[in-house]
C-alpha cells in the first residue's frame, strides 16, 4: 500500500506565496507580489505533474543458506514505466542483520522503461531463520511536493546456520550398535583392531591364528578383534530457560555446540538424533547422512526459549527417539528443574548420559553491580550441588564457558568417563 504525505516544501511555498500576495495587496507594494510569485509557481507547476509511482521490484538473494557471520549478496531490480526523478530505496533488515557493503538507503533515478539494479552485501550475526528482500521505497514527484512511501519486493527466506566449531574428537559411547561404522566396539568379533589372544577352538578361521604366540607356546592361539560399529547419539538441548545478555546467550552457545557435535558424529557415520526439551518439545529420531545433518540444523534454527510452567518429564519424548544404548549428550545451562529431572531419569533408565553445562555465570549480572554477593555465592553453591548430584549418578557434568573451546569440555568429559571406568574396575 502506498501512503502519500505532503512534502514540507509544498506547505512552506504555498504559505509564503499566500502571505506575500496578501501583504502586497494590503500594503500596496508590488515588490512583495514579485517576491512571492516564484513560491506560487512551484506548486502551480508541480501539482498537476504529481502522480503516484508505479514501480516493479524483483529481489534476488544470493543463496537460501549461509553461516552466521558470513555475507550474502542481495540484488534488487527496480523498473518503472513513468520517470521517477527521486526514489530512495532502503532495504528492510531483519533483527540481527547488517549491511556490509552497498548504499542503504540508496538514492536512484528511473527513466521511463528503464531499470536500475542495486546490490547489497548483508551479514547475519546470529543463527536463525530470516526473511530478506523487502525494501522500503520513498519517491517524490518531479518538483518534490509529495512523498510516496511503500513497501516493495518479496521476502525470501534465508536460513543462517550456526557457525560450528571444528572438533578433533568427540565422546565415545559406552556401547555401540550392531551396524557397521567407524567406532571401535568394545565387543569382540570381526574387525581390524586387535583385542586379545585366546586358544584355538574348532571352527576358528586359520587366518586368525597368531603364529608367533603359537610358536612360543606350542599350541594354537588366535587373535580376537574389535569390530567397527556405529553408535547412536542423541543431542539433548535444554530450552526451558536461558541466561542472556544483549548479544549472546546460553542458547546460542548450546545451538553452536549441538551443530558442531552433530556434524562430527555424522561424519563418523554415527546415527544422530535430537531432542529439544523445553517449552516447545521437538525431536528427530536418530539417523545418519547429510540429509540428517540438514534436518538437525534446521531443527536447531527453530529452537527458542518458550516460557512454560507445565511440568514435563522424559516420558513425553517418543521412545524411538531414544534408542537403547544411545549416548545422550545434554547441552544445558542447568537452570531448570524439569531438564535436570529428565536427565537424571534418563540416567536411571540406563542411558549413557554426559552433560555439557553451558555456564550461565558469564551472562549473570556481576556481584559488584546489582546482585548481593551472598546471593551469588549461594547460587553458585547450589549449582555445585547439582553437579555433585549428577556425579553421584555417574553422569559427567563439565562446565563450558563462552570463549572457551568446546573441545576442552569434551576432553574433560572423556577424562571423567575414563576415571569412572577405572573406578568401576
Amino acid at each position: 500500500m502506498t501512503t502519500r504525505t505532503t512534502a514540507p516544501r509544498l506547505t512552506a511555498y504555498a504559505g509564503l506565496a499566500a502571505f506575500g500576495l496578501l501583504a502586497a495587496v494590503a500594503l500596496g507594494r508590488p515588490e512583495l507580489a514579485i517576491l512571492a510569485a516564484p513560491f506560487a509557481i512551484v506548486p502551480a507547476l508541480g501539482l498537476p505533474l504529481a502522480r503516484p509511482p508505479s514501480i516493479r521490484i524483483i529481489s534476488t538473494l544470493g543463496s537460501e543458506r549461509t553461516v552466521e557471520g558470513e555475507t550474502i549478496e542481495l540484488e534488487l531490480e527496480l523498473r518503472s514505466d513513468a520517470p521517477i526523478p527521486h526514489a530512495e530505496v532502503a532495504l528492510v533488515l531483519p533483527e540481527g542483520g547488517e549491511i556490509v557493503d552497498g548504499p542503504n538507503p540508496a538514492l536512484v533515478r528511473l527513466g521511463p522503461g528503464q531499470s536500475v539494479e542495486l546490490a547489497w552485501k548483508v551479514r547475519c550475526g546470529r543463527w536463525g531463520a530470516y526473511a530478506l528482500g523487502e525494501a522500503a521505497l520513498r519517491t517524490r514527484d518531479p518538483l518534490g511536493l509529495f512523498v510516496y512511501e511503500q513497501r516493495v519486493g518479496r521476502s525470501t527466506p534465508l536460513k543462517v546456520y550456526p557457525s560450528a566449531e571444528r572438533l578433533r574428537s568427540v565422546l565415545r559411547p559406552l556401547a555401540t550398535q550392531p551396524t557397521a561404522g567407524n567406532q571401535v566396539a568394545r565387543e569382540r568379533g570381526d574387525g581390524i583392531e586387535f583385542a586379545d589372544l585366546r586358544p584355538f577352538v574348532h571352527g576358528d578361521r586359520l587366518r586368525r591364528i597368531n603364529w608367533r604366540a603359537t610358536a612360543r607356546s606350542g599350541e594354537l592361539w588366535v587373535n580376537e578383534l574389535h569390530p567397527e560399529r556405529n553408535t547412536d547419539v542423541v543431542i539433548f538441548l535444554d530450552t526451558f530457560i536461558e541466561a542472556r545478555r544483549e548479544d549472546a546467550g546460553t542458547l546460542d552457545l548450546a545451538v553452536r555446540a549441538a551443530a558442531a557435535l552433530a556434524e562430527r558424529y555424522l561424519a563418523h557415520r554415527d546415527r544422530v538424533g535430537l531432542v529439544v526439551f523445553g517449552g516447545i518439545l521437538n525431536w528427530l529420531t536418530p539417523a545418519t547422512g547429510i540429509v540428517q545433518r540438514y534436518r538437525i540444523v534446521d531443527a536447531l534454527l527453530d529452537a527458542e526459549i518458550m516460557l512454560s510452567y507445565a511440568w514435563k518429564d522424559i516420558d513425553v519424548v517418543p521412545r524411538r527417539t531414544l534408542p537403547p544404548q544411545a549416548l545422550v549428550v545434554a547441552l544445558s545451562p542447568l537452570l531448570d528443574e524439569r531438564a535436570l529431572a529428565a536427565l537424571a531419569d534418563l540416567r536411571r533408565r540406563g542411558f549413557d548420559v554426559a552433560v555439557i553445562e553451558i555456564s550461565p555465570v558469564p551472562f549473570a549480572p556481576s556481584s559488584h553491580d546489582e546482585v548481593d554477593p551472598l546471593v551469588e555465592r549461594l547460587w553458585l553453591l547450589r549449582r555445585d550441588a547439582r553437579r555433585t548430584a549428577f556425579h553421584t549418578l555417574g553422569v559427567p557434568v563439565v562446565e563450558w564457558r563462552e570463549g572457551e573451546a568446546l573441545q576442552s569440555a569434551i576432553e574433560e568429559v572423556a577424562a571423567f568417563r575414563r576415571a569412572a571406568h577405572l573406578a568401576r574396575r
Binding site: 502519500r4 504559505g15 495587496v25 508590488p30 510569485a37 548504499p103
Partner: protein
Amino acid sequence: MALAACVGLFAAAGAGDVVALVAALAGVGTAVLAAGLWRGRAFVVPWSLLGLGAAAAVSFAEDSDPARSPLHAAALIAIGELAYWSFETRTSRPASSGITARRIALISGLVAGSIAVGAVLVSVARIDPGGGLLLEAAGVAAAVTLAAAVLALSRRVA
C-alpha cells in the same frame, strides 16, 4: 548559506536609512537557516525565507523601483530549493548517475523562470492603472483565489 548571506548583503546595500533593520532581518533569516541546516530541521526553511524576504521588502520600501525584486525572488527560491535538497540527500547515498545534474537543472530552470515571471510582473507594476476600491478588491480576490487554487489542487492530488 552563502547565497542567503549574499541576499542579506544585497538587501542591506540598497536599504538606505533602514540598513540596521534590514541587516537584522537578514541576519536572523540566515542564522535560522544555518541552525536548521546544522540540526537537520526542515521546518525552519520557510521562516528563514520569510526573514530574508522581509529584509528585501524593507529595503524595497526605501527604493520605490521594483526592478531589483525579480533577482531577490529568484535568489529566495534558489535558497529554498538548495536547503530542501540538502535535507533530502542527507539520509541516502546516490546509487545512479544524473541525479545531481537533474537537480541542478531543475533549480536553474526555477531561477530562470522566476526572473522571467518577475520581469513580467515588474513591467505590469509600472503601468499605472489608477486606484480605487474595486482594484483593491480584485487584488485581494486574486490572492485568495491563488491560495485556494493551491489548496484545492493539493487536495485533488491527495
